[in-house]
């Protein structure tokens, strides 16, 4: 346990070295709650001189870390003394947008959405049932449903993954034409559906639309 006076500014404020100015401000506020003159939490724990010393240290730490210029200089000192690595510095770069729903998992979503059926999904063409259906010239909603069932994927999973309403997916699978949207949108939905099952999206969509638009 290092005595307080010997700690570096980050340790005094209980901060990681990569903390943002917002975190610094917040940590200083918390520290004042602990060490402030009127704080009930540290009442009688420190003598008057100790407390004054700690508060002075905290203020110095805060003023150093909140200013970009002085913080950089201070970090350089710590890096050259070996207390922190170059990469642990705070960088105020432009922030990249974070997608609201797809945190990290976007690209591997099949893995998380269909954990049990992943193996089957990897090679849908290897499934004899699927192969047989796909060899047809036109595909009905029933065919799509059979493929999906053969691959062991539930409608809910497809809905969750594609963000298409379950009701609409059901309409596609059961060929309820009156509930389907315009062919332009329908094509896009079927493509997404096929893509989710790792089928040839363009081929499937074209063959389905051919069948769906015929009786209309």
């Amino acid at each position: 346990m290092k005595p307080f006076e010997e700690q570096n500014y980050y340790e005094m404020l209980d901060l990681p070295t990569s903390a943002s100015p917002f975190d610094v401000r917040h940590a200083y506020k918390t520290a004042l709650q602990i060490y402030g003159e009127d704080s009930p939490a540290s009442y009688s724990f420190f003598s008057q001189d100790d407390r004054a010393g700690i508060l002075a240290n905290l203020e110095r730490a805060f003023l150093t870390l909140i200013n970009d210029q002085s913080r950089m200089e201070y970090d350089q000192g710590l890096i050259s003394a070996g207390f922190m690595g170059e990469s642990e510095q705070y960088r105020n770069g432009p922030k990249t947008p974070i997608p609201l729903f797809d945190l990290e998992e976007t690209c591997h979503i099949t893995r998380t959405v269909f954990p049990h059926t992943e193996k089957k999904l990897c090679h849908p063409a290897e499934n004899p049932v699927v192969r047989e259906i796909l060899s047809k010239d036109s595909l009905t909603g029933q065919d799509l449903k059979q493929i999906r069932v053969a691959l062991g994927v539930t409608l809910e999973q497809v809905a969750e993954f594609t963000k298409i309403r379950k009701r609409l997916l059901g309409a596609i699978e059961e060929d309820r034409h009156e509930e389907l949207p315009s062919s332009f949108h329908l094509k896009s939905f079927v493509r997404t559906y096929a893509d989710c099952l790792r089928l040839d999206a363009d081929g499937v969509a074209a063959r389905y639309l051919q069948q769906a638009s015929a009786p209309r």
């Binding site: 346990m1 209980d14 709650q33 704080s39 009930p40 009442y43």
Partner: protein, 339 residues
């Protein structure tokens, strides 16, 4: 099943590396902060969950735990054991109205029981660590007398009770520091401790060392090996803190902050177990001599108490009982006379 922990009880009573993790001393420095009430409530809740629980009133000379748990006339007491009217401590164990909850009273006709002499205390501490119960809760008295602190150090899992008032927090820090100092004394040899004190006085120009943490720091500079060892044994503590009688206008963060101060400035691990709301009906329940949890089970305070008990049990599972203590050469541990 729990017998197995009691083999090393001689070391256990010395307070070093205590192998028994199911003794819970409950102390708090200030009187009126709710130690007795919390002990009674925790005992009741543990017993209801099916644990064989023993509560001991170790507030010698000012015992009143029996009232809280509904035993109006304690029969045999700790003082009978201390005065050798009964041979084993188990004879002093009484049943309570609650199944699974057992009780040893500290009340007694012997008015002098508050001032235990050293050999009596040794015998008592040893007997307590031998008792075959799953949880043994020790209700300690206010103040920081040697008696209180030695009872507190019977296990390294003491529970501090405080209220959000500065007076109470002040006394908790007082108790924490006293326990800390006592531990330093136990780990170091007596001569080494005296040398350290003299050194401390010398370095600080005649004024005696104010804080035990200064002593530790000094020791680390004079004798890094000893200092390291001492710090390690201080780290073995698993103290807990409960904030009792929190009123609506109080800052609910105080407990967490107190724990952080102890960790940062004393190097002691103190876990915060939660706030317990103030309720005037506690007074009412005590006056009627019924337990609050029975009379007012659907209040915020009762909920807080149950949550406190849950958190307490969860923590216990995280830290399974430690192995038998390792004898280190050159280490003498004493509980000093008078103390």
């Amino acid at each position: 099943m729990y017998r197995k922990f009691y083999d090393g009880d001689v070391q256990a009573m010395n307070g070093e590396e205590n192998p028994i993790t199911n003794i819970w001393p409950i102390g708090g420095g200030k009187g009126g902060s709710g130690k007795t009430f919390l002990t009674g409530s925790l005992g009741l809740l543990l017993a209801r969950q099916g644990f064989r629980t023993l509560v001991i009133d170790a507030d010698l000379g000012a015992a009143n735990l029996h009232t809280v748990i509904g035993v109006a006339y304690p029969g045999r007491t700790l003082s009978d054991f201390v005065n050798r009217k009964i041979e084993t401590l188990e004879e002093a164990v009484m049943k309570t109205p609650v199944p699974n909850l057992f009780f040893i009273s500290g009340a007694g006709d012997n008015l002098d029981v508050a001032n235990l002499i050293h050999s009596q205390k040794r015998r008592l501490l040893r007997a307590i660590s031998k008792l075959p119960y799953e949880h043994v809760l020790l209700d300690l008295g206010a103040g920081t007398s040697f008696n209180t602190i030695d009872f507190f150090l019977i296990s390294n899992t003491g529970i501090f009770v405080t209220t959000p008032e500065p007076t109470s927090i002040e006394n908790v820090y007082r108790l924490v520091r006293s326990v800390y100092l006592r531990k330093i004394r136990q780990v170091l040899r007596e001569e080494a401790f005296r040398e350290l004190l003299q050194e401390a006085v010398m370095r600080s120009n005649g004024t005696s060392a104010k804080n035990p943490e200064d002593l530790l720091r000094m020791l680390r500079t004079c004798d890094p090996v000893q200092g390291e060892r001492l710090e390690e044994s201080l780290r073995s503590f698993r103290f807990k803190l409960v904030l009792n009688q929190l009123r609506k206008q109080d800052n609910p963060q105080i407990g967490t902050l107190v724990c952080r101060i102890c960790e940062k400035h004393l190097g002691l691990r103190v876990q915060f177990l939660g706030n317990i709301q103030h309720d005037d009906r506690v007074h009412d329940a005590v006056c009627r001599k019924v337990h609050f949890l029975n009379k007012y089970p659907y209040t915020q305070t009762a909920t807080d108490l149950r949550e406190f008990c849950q958190r307490f049990l969860a923590e216990r599972e995280d830290n399974p009982p430690a192995g038998p203590p390792v004898e280190r050469p050159g280490e003498t541990i004493r509980i000093t006379a008078n103390g």
